[in-house]
Subunit: 246 residues, 2 copies
């Protein structure tokens, strides 16, 4: 089988009606959600998912991520996500993704950096024992796109203020990753989302935010690139991101 | 096969990590989402989904719904949703749901009233031609719970104001049903959601709301029941709902 020559595992998806926007293409956030869920499923299937790490009171946490789409698939379109680990160190594990259509054409790429934190101390754990146990799931194939860019402080020009609500939070009462992505996309001009664009998204999660806090989603626009910074009402930076459209 | 004795089709699900709240039980809105998606899938499978109606510029629209849960399933728990149509008239088609756990124990029930509207005139269509073509998918088995209750005007005591954002809207630029359910749940006291309760939810969609409007989510609390009314900034009632906990 040709598929077997490539690193990692392949998962099949279809763009569901609830995932599309008014252009009948999948929403960028819906695709990011599928990528994140694929990471969770694949770790679970390979025996090192959060269900296993939780036995030691540890959890996988996403630190940085870069996602590129040449085009977003349309309603009812079938697509595949291939995912594989490479370049895993003592603190950071790199998980990659490649999205392809029914004809096998690659239309999206992503690379993400994860650590495992202890849920009590909130500090990262040494990944060495997990890597030793799961060497067969770490591949040489490099990431399919540039690593997440370094993101500096943003002098924001526009902002939206919103409280953290029940539907935003996960098992740990922290805002879930996908909700941050949605908050930022919802702050963008809708005209931008109405037209098809190539897009690259760089994300850097700095600090967790939790139920009871109020977030400020601020951004600045520079020649097709939107630089975001989300801060909490205590003034802490929660995450930074850039959305580059072309 | 015993399953075949019951009306309708059965779909298999598992509670995914992104669907649970901090109690590790599925969020009520996530379960409502699965119910609504099951309706869409089943109509599609039986040949009268929105993909087919759209060819005539018509779309299924949810009018009223009642949902009951004795308990919400926990993370990674397998469950089934059985769905069937009964009691279909000229304007309203009734679709029912029964949720059961891996042991076959029923833990949730729902019944919903749908019409087909023309996307240009926004008026309901006569369902007779669709019913004539699909008689084999309409069953005698009654709804598994009381029909959606009539919901009168609510004198609200508390309210949350929020603009409609990109992530709220569907292919038609209208707020999607699941988002209304989330808005109302997010307005509830979080302590209520932290404890397991039996819950019955009655929903009545009055008018569509669209991108650009600002919604007021108001409610009044009466002995374990929360009566909601969502209105637009033009003062129109968009939807009413009651959440009864016991």
């Amino acid at each position: 089988m040709k598929m077997m020559e490539k690193a990692g595992n392949i998962y099949d998806f279809r763009v569901e009606p609830q995932e599309v926007d008014f252009t009948l293409r999948a929403r960028l956030a819906a695709m990011c959600g599928k990528i994140l869920n694929t990471a969770g499923h694949d770790a679970h299937r390979n025996g090192f998912g959060t269900d296993v790490t939780m036995k030691d009171n540890n959890s996988w946490v996403l630190s940085r991520m870069a996602i590129e789409f040449d085009v977003l698939p349309t309603q009812y379109e079938d697509y595949k996500i291939r995912t594989w680990l490479n370049d895993t160190g003592r603190i950071i594990s790199v998980r990659n993704f490649e999205m392809s259509d029914a004809e096998g054409k690659v239309f999206g790429r992503a690379t993400s950096q994860w650590c495992i934190i202890n849920l009590t101390s909130r500090r990262p754990c040494d990944l060495t024992p997990i890597i030793e146990m799961h060497r067969q799931y770490i591949f040489e194939e490099p990431a399919p796109c540039e690593a997440p860019h370094k993101l500096g402080a943003v002098e924001t020009e526009h902002s939206v203020v919103r409280p953290i609500v029940y539907s935003d939070i996960d098992f740990n009462r922290h805002v879930n990753t996908l909700r941050y992505i949605e908050m930022m996309i919802d702050a963008l001009p809708i005209e931008l989302l109405a037209e098809p664009h190539k897009v690259r998204l760089d994300l850097h999660f700095v600090k967790e935010s939790r139920y009871g806090q109020i977030l400020t989603v601020g951004y600045r626009h520079e020649q097709g690139t939107y630089l975001f910074e989300i801060t909490s009402d205590e003034g802490a930076v929660i995450c930074r991101a850039t959305f580059a459209f072309c």
